[in-house]
């Protein structure tokens, strides 16, 4: 395996091969910074461009596309409260608050270092797991997934300590909205109000764009603030790149937990970066005893950023082990690879391990390149927080309208984004936590599907929790998550 890893590394960094991951990274960075064209769209567009390419350039190019855009999506989340991609929505909770506090440079620098190092953790774990990939995946079943989603839902209680009642109601509503659409078990339509548009459920991207990005633009206009950071246009930029870069080392436990969570959730097919980011955020909020999360706490940027990029390494596990895509990105990656005669799965792992490592190292390189290049432009980008709001608001509104329309080409998405935008503004105005709504919303279908599967398997006598060590471990972790804060509170009295 080491020999294959070394050969893969040599291939990636040789000339002219290095041009493919660098070019793909630059392209992904640009696309990720502009809301409206997602990384998925870019990958889909790139497939026909690359029809005549060989195996190595294809692996280098698409491996870099998978990881190249995540950090830049976080930059727009920090600066404008517009997630450049859905997973970056977790970053904006504290990232944009930091920008409003004049700490945009710190937030961007923290995001850059957490992204690069988080992806390194994810890739390191992926490499370590290569001999065990198939065993790891078969150990994850409906019971384990159910426990993971319950743990994710429990984090809601941690991020809504300031308004627990409103948080629980928002979470309940979020989950109910997550149930909208056709029930996968009974095929009956639920809560669609007779609208064909809602048959496939409430789409995540327009909902998130509305709830956070549009709501913030509405707030920016209504508040009458002159700039995003409320500083004058000639004000010197606050924040410190050094402080942002060192945040990973000042909060090592939060970074490690976020990275491990991201990798673990990335391994699970269907979970995705959005879930990983929010779950990591909620997990980190447990350490917030002063109530600073949501007001510009750097840990609120560090946790989701390390999880979102660590997820990339994890998401390659089902793809490499079984040729099963675990996410939209890896589904497109699989398509691209198969069209070029590369079949992920046992064949790649056992017969062409070097090619697998070319893919892995390309992903590694793109994550670091994105962070380094993004950091280099962080200062001019941070200047955007002191651009007059009167010019910024209408321009961003136009970009948001387009972002809602181009995702699926549906006018309904624009209406949905508007509705969620007004709802998000009202939630912010009256102190209802939007993050609780979103965590429950993204976890709803995963929770329900695995609840039903678990109950069904148990009824059929095919599930014995005591024979599943991973499930037992997760159950103990859940119990500790609930019991420890209670014990701490009782002890402090």
């Amino acid at each position: 395996m080491l020999e294959s890893a070394w050969q893969g590394l040599q291939i990636v960094f040789s000339w002219p091969n290095i041009l493919f991951p660098v070019g793909a990274t630059l392209l992904a960075m640009f696309v990720a910074f502009v809301p409206g064209i997602s990384g998925m769209t870019l990958m889909a567009l790139a497939i026909p461009w690359t029809f005549g390419w060989g195996e190595i350039p294809t692996l280098l190019f698409f491996g870099a596309l998978v990881g190249g855009g995540t950090f830049m999506g976080s930059v727009t989340a920090i600066l404008f409260n517009i997630p450049g991609n859905a997973p970056s929505a977790a970053t904006l909770l504290d990232g944009h608050a930091m920008a409003r506090n004049g700490q945009a440079q710190t937030a961007i620098a923290c995001s850059a270092s957490a992204s690069a190092l988080g992806s390194t953790v994810g890739i390191a774990l992926l490499i370590a797991l290569i001999p065990l990939l198939r065993r790891v995946l078969t150990a994850i079943g409906p019971l384990e997934l159910l426990l993971l989603t319950i743990w994710g839902l429990l984090t809601i209680t941690l991020v809504t300590r300031r308004a627990p009642l409103k948080g629980l109601i928002a979470a309940g509503l979020g989950m109910a909205i997550g149930f909208v659409g056709r029930d996968p078990r009974t095929a009956e339509l639920r809560f669609t109000l007779g609208l064909e548009y809602l048959t496939d459920g409430v789409p995540v991207v327009p909902a998130l764009l509305g709830l956070f990005a549009l709501a913030e633009m509405l707030d920016l206009y209504v508040s009458g603030r002159r700039t995003i950071s409320a500083e004058g246009v000639d004000a010197p930029l606050g924040g410190s790149v050094r402080e942002g870069l060192l945040a990973v080392f000042r909060h090592p436990l939060i970074f490690l937990r976020g990275s491990l969570l991201g990798t673990a959730l990335g391994i699970v097919p269907g979970v995705g970066g959005t879930v990983a980011g929010f779950v990591a955020y909620g997990d980190a909020a447990r350490a917030d005893h002063e109530g600073r999360f949501g007001k510009g706490d750097i840990r609120g940027v560090l946790a989701p950023e390390s999880a979102i990029d660590a997820k990339d390494g994890g998401s390659l596990v089902p793809l490499l082990a079984f040729g099963i895509p675990g996410s939209e990105g890896t589904a497109l990656l699989l398509t691209a690879l198969m069209l070029h005669g590369i079949t992920p799965g046992r064949e790649l792992l056992e017969g062409q391990l070097t090619l697998a490592f070319v893919l892995i190292w390309s992903l590694f390189l793109s994550n670091w390149l994105t962070s380094i290049l993004g950091l280099a432009v962080s200062r001019p980008l941070a200047r955007l927080t002191v651009v007059p709001a009167q010019a910024l608001v209408p321009v961003i509104l136009v970009v948001l309208v387009l972002a809602a329309l181009v995702e699926r080409g549906s006018f309904g998405d624009l209406v949905l984004m508007t509705v969620f935008g007004l709802a998000g503004y009202a939630m912010k105005e009256f102190g209802w936590p939007r993050v609780a709504f979103v965590i429950a919303f993204v976890l709803a279908s995963l929770f329900e599907t695995n609840l039903h599967l678990t109950l069904r398997l148990y009824d059929l006598g095919r599930l014995d929790p005591f024979e599943r060590p991973l499930a037992l471990g997760l159950f103990v972790a859940l119990a500790l998550t609930v019991a420890l804060p209670v014990a701490r509170r009782l002890g402090s009295r």
């Binding site: 009642l165 109601i169 109910a176 209504v222 387009l402 609840l451």
Partner: protein
């Protein structure tokens, strides 16, 4: 204060509406929704009672804030309707120019330059480079 009460009332109304719809579903289909909506509706009712009985600790929003809220809502509704009727590019161009002129009282030349630059950027990046077809309107 009235806004907070209205929002709590809206949350309760939505929860109860979804709960009512759940009863029409099959046993399997309503299992998870009922587990979620029953406690949520109880909590929402509790929240409404708390808000109704609460003593306001902050002055009501000033008239200017209300005015801005209504104006931006009107602009937003206008954008959505005009995108539907005329398509994205014409609607975005007109909205951007009018907003800059009316809301921010930007000078004619500056508004025209900002509008042109923004629309040109969007057209080049999304339309030409991205190959994305801009949505057309119902009328044109």
């Amino acid at each position: 204060m009235r806004g907070a009460v209205a929002f709590s009332g809206l949350a309760l109304a939505i929860t109860l509406g979804l709960l009512a719809q759940s009863t029409a579903l099959s046993a399997l289909g309503r299992l998870a929704p009922l587990w979620v909506l029953l406690p949520t509706s109880v909590l929402a009712a509790l929240r409404l009672v708390v808000d109704l009985r609460a003593v306001p600790d902050a002055p009501p929003s000033p008239h200017e804030t209300r005015r801005r809220q209504l104006r931006i809502t009107a602009w937003l509704a206008g954008v959505v309707v005009s995108v539907y009727l005329f398509g994205f590019l014409p609607a975005a161009t007109v909205f951007l120019f009018l907003f800059l002129r009316v809301e921010t009282e930007t000078r004619l030349r500056s508004a025209a330059i900002t509008t042109s630059a923004t629309v040109a950027f969007v057209y080049l990046v999304f339309g030409v480079l991205g190959g994305i077809a801009f949505p057309e309107g119902a009328l044109f």
